[in-house]
Every structure is written in C-alpha cells, then in structure tokens.
C-alpha cells in the first residue's frame, strides 16, 4: 500500500529546492498592495451606503477599512492555494507520498498570533467606530447610551403591516406618511411597531432599527446631503413585506421648518383624534371601543379567566 511506503529522504524535503515561501510572498505582496490601493482610492468613495449622512459615511469608512484588511488575507490564501496546486501536483507515474510534515510550531504560532492580532484590532476599531458615531445608525433600544449632544430632531417611525408612518412630536405630534428631514441636524428615530417585527432601513442614511411591538428603538444619524433616500422594511413581516417601502427627503433646514409648520396646520384636525404621542402604542387599546365593551359588560375578566375567544390576537 502506498501509504506505508517510506519516503525516500524524509529530512531533505525541508530545505531542498527553491524557496517556495519567498516566491509566494513575492507574488502576494504586489497583489495585496495593488488591491488595497484600488480599494482605498478607486472603489472606496463609491462603496455603499454612500455619504448622505454621518452614519452612512461612518459605515462606508468601516466597510472600506475592512475591505483593505480583508483583501490581503484573501489574496494570501488564494495565492498560496494557486501556487500549491500548480507547483505540488503529483506528476504522472509518481506514486510516492509527500514529506511527513506533522506541523511546525513557529508557523502555527505566528499564524495564530497574526490572526488574533487582526481580530482584536478589528474589535477595537469596530467598538471605537460604534461609540464615536453615536451608535452607527443602528437601533440602540429605548435608552441609548451613545447619543449625540444637544436636542436632536425627534422622528417617530411607526411600522405596521405594511407601511411606515412618521410622527414629529416636536411639531405637535402630527402623523404623516412623508419622511422629511433637515440637513445638518441630528435626528433621533424612535422606531416602534403596531403589530409584528419590522425593520426601518433608510438605506442611503445608513440607518437600520428593528421595529418591535411595544418597544421603542432609537437610532441616530445626521443627514449631510440633500436628496431623496429609500426606506425599506428589512425584516420579513408577512405577505406584502416586499412592497413595504417608501421614500424620504433631506431638505434644507428652512425648507424643513416651513414643511413641518405647514403640515402641522394641515393635519391639525387629524392630530386631535390620534392617540397622544407615546413611545409605544397598543393597537388593541382604543378608547371608544373600550367604552363600548364596558357598557356591554365585557370590560375585563373580573377575577376569572378570560373566555377563550377573548385573549388578544395581535
């Protein structure tokens, strides 16, 4: 059996022949340098999600940095494998086994050190980026710990199957289907849901926050360019999840002020019958309905179990 045949010169394999390591290194190094330069200079400025807001540029920078780190690693593995597959094929008629290398402490130790170093620096980098960008545009729960100074513009995002509506509590709490934001001011999105889990994804703004029923999820960003952006639901929420999208606008602060004031007046009658602004809403609690139920004598369990058809189906 071939497996049992001893190799001809067991120890000679290590040093004989060309220095494969040097060759692989010298193929890899220029490739890595070129790839990194291309990523940083050519590709980097066009990486998603763009630079429309502070969190978007922050994410673009993160993706760029990680691409610059990842490209050499990938290229190293690919170069190595390509080199190995070309150089160390078993030639026709050769039935011998390879050299019996069981391991190499130095190689293993340096590999572990290098990968651990990359990983730990990525962790530090990611944490710094997360904290310094005030949560990186991601949902931070009801009481965010990394928030920008000052008073941000509050926009409540109310998700339901299958649309988003927006409330502006600093402008009388009107609720509208239009998302309009001022340029250059921090915005706090208070994201909540009325039924199932949705996710508010303002793609060009680099904001994503899950909308959970009964909870308030805050995300911060500062729009830095005027224009239109896409809002999509990015958590599967049922039948028409694919159609749950709309568009928002970033406008100049003065245009925003006039839009908000006009809308406030326009919607004043509607705002009056809305439930008062709150961080979360319970869609099953509707005052008028409650009154009717109490009048009919089914206003509660009265210390007994609910009748089986009663518990609320959200």
């Amino acid at each position: 059996m071939a497996a049992a045949t001893p190799a001809a010169t067991p120890a000679a394999g290590a040093d004989a022949g060309p220095s494969h390591g040097l060759r692989i290194f010298s193929i890899w190094l220029p490739l890595a340098v070129i790839a990194d330069l291309l990523i940083w200079i050519v590709w980097g400025p066009h990486l998603p999600p763009g630079a429309m807001s502070s969190s978007a540029s922050n994410q673009q920078f993160d993706i760029k940095v990680m691409a610059v780190l990842a490209a050499p690693v990938m290229l190293f593995v690919l170069t190595y494998f390509s080199y190995a597959l070309i150089t160390w094929r078993q030639r026709e008629g050769d039935t011998e086994d390879g050299p019996p290398l069981h391991g190499n402490t130095r190689v293993q130790a340096s590999w572990i050190t290098i990968t651990a170093g990359i990983v730990l620096s990525l962790f530090v980098f990611g944490t710094v980026e997360l904290v310094s960008s005030h949560g990186a545009g991601a949902g931070e729960g009801p009481s965010p710990i990394w928030k920008p100074g000052g008073t941000p513009l509050q926009v409540q995002v109310i998700a339901q199957q299958w649309k988003f509506t927006y409330r502006y509590p600093q402008f009388g709490g009107f609720e509208t289907t239009q998302l309009v934001l001022p340029e250059g001011q921090w915005v706090a999105f208070n994201v909540t849901s009325l039924d199932v889990i949705h996710s508010f994804w303002a793609y060009q703004l680099g904001v994503k926050a899950d909308a959970n029923p009964g909870s308030d999820n805050v995300a911060y960003t500062k729009p830095e360019l005027q224009g239109r952006f896409v809002v999509r639901c990015s958590e599967l929420c049922g039948l028409w999840h694919g159609a749950m999208f709309d568009y928002g606008r970033v406008v100049s602060p003065s245009a925003f002020r006039s839009w908000a004031d006009a809308t406030r007046v326009q919607l004043a009658a509607v705002t009056k019958i809305l439930p008062p602004y709150a961080t979360t809403y319970d869609p099953t609690v509707i005052p008028q309905l409650n009154k009717a139920l109490v009048k009919a004598g089914i206003g509660g369990a009265n210390g007994y179990y609910y009748p089986p058809q009663d518990p609320v189906q959200p």
């Binding site: 993706i63 990611g126 960008s133 991601a138 931070e140 959970n212 089986p308 959200p314």
Partner: protein, 657 residues
Amino acid sequence: MAIEIQPEKVQGPGGGDPAAGRPSRPWWLRPAVHTAVLGAVIGYVVGHWLGNFLGSNYQQLPLSDSSDMPIVLGYLLAVVGWLAGLGVFNDPLRQMAGRPIPVEEEDAAAASGLARYFRYSLDHKVVGIQYLVGMIIYFCTAGLFAMAIRTELLSPVHHVFSSSTYIEIVGEHGTMMMMLMTSVIVGPFGNFLVPIMIGAKRVAFPRIEALSFWLTPCAFLILFSGLFLGGFPFGWTGYAPLSIQAGPGADSYAIAFGLMGISIILAGFNIIVTVICYRAPGMRWSRLPMFVWSMLATSVLMVLAAPVLVGGMYMIITDRTVQTAFFTDQLGGSSYLYQNLFWFFGHPEVYILALPGFGIVSEIIPVFCRKPLFGYKTAAAGMVGVAVLSFFVWQHHLFDSGINPDMRPLFMLTTELISIPTGFIYLVAMGTFWKAKIRFTVPMLFALGMYFNFLIGGISGVFLSDVPADTTEHGSFFVMAHFHYTIMGGLIFAFMAGVYYWLPKMMGIKLNQTLGKIHFWTMFIFFNATFLPLFAVGMAGQPRRVFEYASNLQTINDWVSISSFCLGGSILIFIINFVWSTGIVREREVGNPWQSRGLEWQVPSPPPPGNFERVPVVLSGPYEYGTPGAPPVADLYPPAGVISAAYAGSPTAGAEA
C-alpha cells in the same frame, strides 16, 4: 451479598436475543413504511378529532372550520402513529412486558434486499444509507423552491407568483434547507462511518439513531404539507408576533422544526456516546480521525442547542393553540424572547452546518496530498473552539433590534474571535498542501471548492460582525449571500466531496468520475456566478425575501437567476450520476481506491454486518502518509488475548507481542 453474575449473552443490535427468533410473517404484516403511513393516517384522524373535541371553544381560524388545535394534535398523533406503524415501540414494549426481544431480520443473510431500507433498521449502515437518500431528496426539494424564488425575481415588477405564494415558497425553501440540512453530513456519513472509523462494531444507541432518521421524513412531510394549509409567511426564522398571527401553515412549521430538533438531539446524543465509549483499543484521542472530531463537536452543539429550539417551537405552538402569551407583548410576553431563543439555537446551528464540512475536507486532503495532516492538534482545537464560541455569539443577529445595545461590542468581539479557530482549519489545509503530492480527484476538487467558497463566506462574515458595517448589511442580500457561501459553498460542497469519496465505501459502487468532474466544474462556476453578485445586490440595498426590488437591479438579478437555474442543472448532473452509477451501471469498487489510511478503508466495501470480524487494535494515526516505518493503521485480526492486554494499558505493545 453475592451478586449473581450471568455469562455474557450474545446480543444483536438493540439487545436482541438470538434465541427468541421472529415469527415469519408475510411482508405486508411486517412493520415498514406502508404500515407507518397507515399509522400516520389513523393518528392524524384521531388527533384531528381530539383537537376539535378539546379545542372547539378556542378561536376559530378565519376562512376555516377548525382552530389550530386539531391541526397540531393531528400532526402530533400522526407522528406517533407513524412511529408505531414502523414498529418503533414494539421492542421497548416487549421489554417492558418481560418478553425476549427477537433479533433483527437484517442480520440474517437473507435480508440483504432493498426492503430493509424501508424499515426501522437498527443497523447503522442501513440508517446511513437511508439518511443519504433522504437528505438528497430533501435537498433537491428545497432546491426546487430556491429556483422558484429566482424565477419570481427575474423581474422587479412582473410577477410569476402571487405575493402569498412567493412568501410560502421562501419559507419552505429556507426552513427545509436550514432544518433538514443540519443532518446532511451527520446523518449519512456520521452514522455510517463514525463507528467504522473508530473501530466499533455498532453504535451506542441503535434505536435512538434509527428513530432520529425516521423523524426526518415526518418533519419533511409535515413542513411540506404546510403548503396545503396556506404556508407560513415568516421565512425560516419564524419571528414571533408574525408566527402567532399567521395562518395554520405556521403549525406545520413549528411542529416540523420541533421534530427535527428532537431528531438532531437524538442523532447527536448517539454519536457523542459512540465516540466516547466505543473506540477500539488503541484509538486514542490523538489518533481520532478529524472527521470524527468534527462529528463529536457537531453532536455536542446539536445536543446543547436544539433543546432551546424545541422549547421555542413548543411556546409557539402553545401560543397558537391554548392561547398562552409568551410572545405577545400586550399580555406580558415579549417578541425579544423568541428572537433570543431562536438565535441561541440558530447560531450554534450554523456551526452544526459548518463543522461537518470542515471535518470532511480535513479528512480528505491528507489522502490526496499524500501527506500527514498538518497540525492535527490545531485542527481539533479549531473545531472544539468553534463549537464552544458558537454559543456566545447569538446576539449578533440582533445588532439592530434594540436588545442589549451596550452588549454589542462584546458580541462583536466573540463573533470576530470565532474567526481564529476557523482560521486554524485554513492553516491546517495550507500546511497540508505544503510540498504535497496533490491528486486532483473528484473529492479533492470538491474539497478545494469548499476552501475557496468558505473563504469568501468567512471573510464576508467578518464584515457582518462589525456593527457599523452590519447596519447596512443586516437583513439584506449580503447576509443571504454570506450564509449561502458558508452553507451551500461550504457544507454542500463538502457533502459532495464526501459522497464521491465515501460512496465506494458505503455502497461498494464507484461513481462515474467524468460526470463527477463535470458536476464539480459546473457546480463551482454556477454557484459562484449565482451568489457572488448577491453581495453586490445586498450592498445596493435589496432586502431579503422581497418579491419587488429596485428596477436598476434587474440585470444583476436576472444574471443570478439564470446562474441559479444552471446551478440546478449541475445538481441534476449529480442526480443522474448518482442514479446511473448506483442503479444502472453498478460498477463494483471493493478495495481502497484512494489508497487511504483511514480505518474505514481497511474493511471490505460495503462493510460486512458488524463491520469488523474482531475488534481491531489501532496501531497508529490515520494520516501517517509518507512516514517511514509507520505501522499500518490497525491490526484487524488481533491475536486472542490482545484486547485484554490493550485494556491493561499498552495496546501497541500488546499487539506487537
């Protein structure tokens, strides 16, 4: 007090008593698939009636004359009936009644036909083949759903399916793949090969192992039957308020996923005990084949993670039927609870899907590099490290959800740490390739494809672990491309490597190598053509599971769809090869075609009942290629008395004596 010591009796698998015999019955009275189907039908009818009887006061489903209760009880009793029909309970009941357990008929030389594959067989080799065929069927069914998804995504606005049909297809594809493919390697190769690789004549718990297989057709059929109940609109994750709100198809999701959870607990349990307790003398931990290490690590994950899934599914079922409120926030429940439960299972699960792939490729490359595995301990440490760390990363699926926002740096760290042990697998591969004598066989090609794909999958995973970058990538096609690279590109490529490598062993039949190479190259090219562009699609802002997307992404989506059809064609080549080679040509392969040192290759193909005539004594590790003077891997016919010497502590000396 004197203890009566009985002489050891000869036992068949499962504790059968050869003296008991089995009454010879005509085939239609023997428990097999047909009686199981009968039992399932009876069980469903009884359960449905019982559910209507018990639950008629519960909320009626809209547009239906029944509540969830009859459906759930129908499914559950159908499973019980299915198992009873298979004869799962016969022997335990006999034992409870104190009657002798007859030996399985399979062990008799007569029962070598196809019929044994349709029975509750206690032979781990039969279970392995059952799993293999089952898994290929499940994989292809779910793959057809994937192609249906891609058909719908050919156009951003024109629809092939209605939105409800589309969402059903998405859910069926995702769930079927994610729940059934957990066993795609553990099932066929783990059950078949682990005992042979460790020199055991049988597995520790043949009944549990067989049960774990026979639950998978139940799970598959129940999940599939969800389509007839209107499907379920929540993908494979089943996030809670939506899965409580959804129609009766959600019952089939919860029951099927829960059953599959039970199945993988059982499968994992059996493998853990087998590996720990059934190793042949001389099979030290440092000689364990890497595939067995990966099976052990995977099984530990299965046993520890899947109970959480079963619990979560149970809570969904009770929320839906008896109106508990685990996940309803107006009644004190929490939708976060489900997310936590699900991902506490879900993240170890993706390593249940990755580790077997690592195991197969690490097992295969030394054979075709003709070199020892580089850094054996590093490889084993990598698998154990991945397995341990995988329990500490689940909240990276919830970075944007608002849960524990201040814990995100920790989960970012653990997630990135997991790339260190994963890197070990690459270090081991690269070291093994160093100055190797590489043979480009079909299994080797698939193993190389796995390393290539998993590299992309793993590196894209690092992008996802970074919270700021994840804000854009989360829930988009980027994630989808990422895990298809790790699961389809990693696990399924490794599965294919395993099929081409071990099928000669398992069936004694050679697969056509030319078709195999065509299969590899088409699969490799079209897999990458399908999923590489999806990273860009996701980065460009397309969320997962949508049926409408931005019209400027149509070209790239069409490219992906057409590639995916070609990928389906590549799988078809595999099916043709499989059926052609095993069913029609049946070219025998009895020896050791790959000149492997693996213990499993030292026995005839297919292995005889009982695997080894005598318990072998393992003399050296499985990867000693090119080592001068390396002893053969095992002594298959150790002289009498050697085993007891081995237990005395020096197996090698005992064997040489």
